[in-house]
Each structure stands twice: as structure tokens, then as C-alpha cells.
């Protein structure tokens, strides 16, 4: 059965790139979202196996979204995909339960490596 994913990013370009990578590597992208509010709503409805999540977004940013997703589902597999390279931000996301942090601009191979590791690990 295909692994189900949701892509959360306010950039249509990044959404398109991540969807392309995920679908090429065996994921079924069940939803995309452009902000945290939309992401939380869709997560509750669809319960994807994995979420890729941007940090800086309008309406509700990625960190707050991550915290909410983990409250809804403590087993949620969330991988941050962000251009923010500050160590403080990365550590904040790790403490809030992000499984990995991928820095933009990303390479397809790195994304795939991380996603496969996350799916293989227990919740």
C-alpha cells in the first residue's frame, strides 16, 4: 500500500517540487496545504503517514502547526522543510517533535533519504 503524505508549504513552486519527488518515490500525496490552519484541518480528516512542513507561512507558521499536529497525533511523522538555517530554529523544531529538518534548497536524493528513514523508523 502506498505511503500517504501531505505537503505543507505556502510556495506553489515548492509544493509542486515536493509532490513530484514524493510521487516519484512511491508516496501518494493525499493533500497539500498553504498554511498551518489548512494543514491541521486536513491532517485531522486524512491522517497521512507523513507530513512535510515549511516553517515561515502566513496565518499559522510551521512551529505552531507542528506542535498542534503532535497534540492531535503524538505519533505524527513530520519532516520540516525550510530555508531557515539558524541552529536555534532547528533545535526548536526538534524539541517540538519534528523527525528531521531538511534545508532548502534541497536535493531530491536528500529528501528521499530522509523520508525513507522516517518511514522506516518506529513512531
Amino acid at each position: 500500500m502506498a505511503k500517504r503524505a501531505m505537503v505543507v508549504d505556502d510556495s506553489p513552486y515548492i509544493q509542486k517540487e515536493l509532490v513530484k519527488i514524493l510521487e516519484k518515490h512511491g508516496f501518494q500525496v493525499v493533500a497539500t496545504a498553504s498554511n498551518g490552519l489548512e494543514a491541521v484541518k486536513k491532517y485531522k480528516e486524512l491522517r497521512p503517514d507523513l507530513v512535510t512542513l515549511d516553517l515561515v507561512m502566513p496565518q499559522m507558521g510551521g512551529l505552531q502547526t507542528l506542535i498542534l499536529l503532535r497534540k492531535i497525533d503524538p505519533q505524527a511523522r513530520v519532516v520540516m522543510v525550510s530555508s531557515m538555517s539558524s541552529r536555534e530554529k532547528i533545535m526548536e523544531c526538534a524539541k517540538a517533535g519534528a523527525r528531521y529538518y531538511i534545508l532548502k534548497p534541497f536535493e531530491e536524493e536528500k529528501v528521499v533519504e530522509v523520508l525513507n528513514k522516517v518511514m522506516a523508523s518506529s513512531a
Partner: protein
Amino acid sequence: MNAEYVNAFLVPAVEVLRKLAGIRVRRGRARRVEDVHVGGNLSVLIGLQGGLSGAVVLTASREVAWALAGRIAGPGTEAERDVHAVWTEVANMIVGNATGFLEKLGVREALTPPAILDGNGVRLEFGEGVENVVLPLETDVGRVEMIVSLVREAP
């Protein structure tokens, strides 16, 4: 403005453009300006708040912006909304990556989501005490400029 702060944006600007578009990027000579005029260009503005406050603007002529978007997202990238999306994300990556460099300089930053500026006669004013530094980047498809308009906040 402290040269290290300027470099914090310049280094990722060169890297992001090279990596995403597969082009050569050469730094031009930085210059200070009183006012920021980006009329006729496609520009993206990202606000910063923290140890440094102000904004960074990534700007290029529409011709260059379209050419770069095509190099980054593929030859079919022609529609305005697609070019806007790519250009916005380039600016987002540059400024986001800069936060890591700034953190090493002891400066912490929060960023706004990017805003597109597209039109003629666009002039930007950032208020008292803000220094505007224009950083030209010469690429294989033409000139891109990054305008760093920041003021150091009192600790």
C-alpha cells in the same frame, strides 16, 4: 552597515542562485543608496525583525526574472503566477539561509512571508536610520540585485 551582516546575505544569494539555476554568479560592487527604486522590475520583499530590522529585496528586470525562473523550474515556466512563485521562493531561500550566518554573528531574526512587488514607479522607503545597500549579482542570464535595508536594533 557591518560588512559581516552584508556577507550574511551575499554568501547564500550566490549559493542559492548557483544551486537552483545551475548558473555562474559573480558578485558586483556593493553600493549605498538613499532611496530604493525597483520600478519596472520583478521584486520580492522579505521583512526582518530581531537584532536587525528592515527588509531584504531581491529584484531583477522581468526579462531576467523570467529567464531565471525557466532555468530553475524548467523551460515551460512562462505564466506570471509560476514565475512569481519561483522568484518568491528564491528570495525566501536566500534570506532564510542568511539567518544561520546571522545567528553566528549573535543576531537572531524572525522573517515575514515574502511579498511580490511588480510594477512601474515602485519606490521603497524604510524609515529613519535604515541603511540601504545594493548588492549586484551578475549571472549568466543577466543582473540580479539584492537590496539589504536594515538597522541594528539596540540590545
